[in-house]
């Protein structure tokens, strides 16, 4: 067993067990802690795949930002009766059934895709940034997938300047709106 396989086994086990912990924990504070371990495990998975920038962004934005936000939400709303809310067994049954069916379907589909084992190093940070700036074509050597061999389909050059700008303006608008929605108000009832 080589080192990548061993590392993947360890990281995948930690991530899967933490995700299971999120589902099974009843206390919402413990759910947040399990979610922390899941997000860190996913970021380690990105590092393992060679996507350093995505892994670092996952650590900074998800673990450092989104999870802190969730923990603050838990702290602001955690009263004794709300911290642990029981789910009815029928709901567990239906949810678990749907989850197991989805898992089986996705695993079956993922083992059906005939994929050439072409392992190639991921693009580093510099091509990623240039793509976001719109300077370079995103994947100049990439072929259009899903066409028969021997057929060449012309592909248009792609760069991601416009989506990047749209997402940044969207984030600004959403954060202003969230701050407006969550501003301190007089409590109406209770």
């Amino acid at each position: 067993m080589s080192l990548p396989v061993l590392l993947f086994a360890v990281v995948a086990t930690i991530t899967a067990c933490s995700a299971l912990g999120v589902v099974l924990a009843r206390n919402v504070v413990r759910m947040a802690v399990w979610l922390l371990f899941t997000l860190v495990g996913v970021s380690l998975l990105y590092f393992l795949l060679g996507a350093e920038f995505v892994g670092a962004t996952q650590l900074i934005v998800y673990v450092g930002g989104t999870l802190i936000l969730i923990v603050f939400g838990v702290m602001l709303t955690a009263q004794a009766p709300l911290r642990e809310m029981r789910t009815r067994p029928a709901e567990w049954l239906v949810g678990g059934l749907v989850g197991a069916l989805l898992f089986g379907l996705l695993v079956a589909v993922s083992y059906q895709i005939a994929f050439p084992p072409s392992d190639h190093a991921l693009a580093g940070v510099a091509p990623l940034g240039l793509t976001f700036l719109g300077v370079t074509d995103a994947s100049p050597t990439g072929d259009v997938t899903g066409v028969p061999t021997g057929v060449t389909v012309p592909r248009t050059p792609v760069a991601y300047l416009l989506p990047f700008e749209i997402v940044s303006v969207h984030l600004l608008v959403v954060l202003v709106g969230a701050a407006y929605l969550a501003r301190a108000k007089r409590r109406v009832r209770s």
Partner: protein
Amino acid sequence: MSELGIQPFLVLSAFLFACGVVCVASKRNAIGVLMGVELILNAANVNLVAFARFNPAFRLDGQVFALLVIVLAAAEAAVALAIILNFYNNHGTVDVDSADELQG
């Protein structure tokens, strides 16, 4: 890495997705539902980065999409928490079963 293949990543992603769906379906705390949505988005991200690694046509696109999804997930969490805090201020609870004022 090549002896590992893409399938283990897809299976792990499917497991995360199933966990997120069960979380969304069975949690009664609204913040628990939000955590389930985060799990689902992470599962999609694992798929995107895995395909970027193992398919040359997606070597940059997968990472770009993953980054956009991370940013959009942060925005979604901010809005969802604002709504949950508003709901808590108005009703004194975060139980999603009690948010039934729109039913006829």
